[in-house]
Symmetry: C2
Subunit: 154 residues, 2 copies
């Protein structure tokens, strides 16, 4: 879900702004206005991938482990939003299991599902490339100066 990406990005910017102070998930939850459990799930992914370090206990909390310039926005997008493996819900015609005629290429109902699935998959791949054009430094810059992204793109 797109929200997972937003949580990751917001958390990273918050840790960056408060660095080198250790930040708890409770404090992040307040800034993100979201449930701490949800945030911890995303932080655990960021932790595993070496974006942040974390410790528990009284003086525990999270710290950033990389510079914003070394964090690609597309990498974070791919990490938090897995590609949709099947677009079955968004295609028409008979499902694969029910198509005796999918071997007949002129049978639209039996073949359009695969074509649309391929089109959507290629479009999603292309979509992700857009996010890979930016680092977290760009995202921070846009936050300090709204409209910055637009100038980068055009």
């Amino acid at each position: 879900m797109k929200l997972d990406f937003s949580v990751a990005v917001h958390s990273i910017l918050y840790l960056d702004a408060e660095s080198p102070r250790k930040i708890t998930s409770a404090e992040l939850a307040k800034s993100l206005q979201l449930n701490p459990v949800m945030i911890r799930n995303i932080l655990s992914v960021l932790h595993k991938q070496g974006y942040i370090s974390g410790s528990v206990g009284k003086k525990g909390g999270y710290l950033l482990e990389r510079d914003l310039a070394d964090m690609n926005v597309g990498d974070l997008y791919d990490l938090t939003i897995p590609p949709i493996l099947s677009y079955a819900k968004f295609t028409t015609g008979t499902s694969k299991g029910l198509t005796p005629n999918s071997d007949d290429p002129t049978d639209i109902s039996g073949n359009i599902g695969e074509t649309l699935n391929d089109l959507f998959t290629l479009a999603d791949k292309d979509y992700r490339k857009f996010y890979h054009r930016f680092t977290m430094t760009d995202l921070k810059a846009d936050m300090l100066n709204h409209g910055h992204f637009e100038t980068l793109v055009n």
Copy 2:
């Protein structure tokens, strides 16, 4: 919804395959395996934009009004899937009405929503460009020969 696009594309290919026979929405519903009402809503959009003509009554039905080569897949995508105007559901931090600090650019919670909204909007714009690279002739070709899209893209 992506499904609306699939309905439009499937209907057009079906009318093309059966041309010049007039096709009723009931017949299309059978091929699409969807409710005729939903299909009629999309057909009405295609009709207004001059993609198809339609007549009611005993000998009524729909006919294609343009060649597949003159139908851009991106135009059909834009027609059936309006851009998301607000990504509020997918962003974190305080909503606009609740942010006395959104004037302070260092307030992450008050500013990240706008930045993420801008990023997603630009990404969606870019995403649509992908579909504009194809015509309905390409879509038909992929259906007759799965993998065709992949060769066009790479």
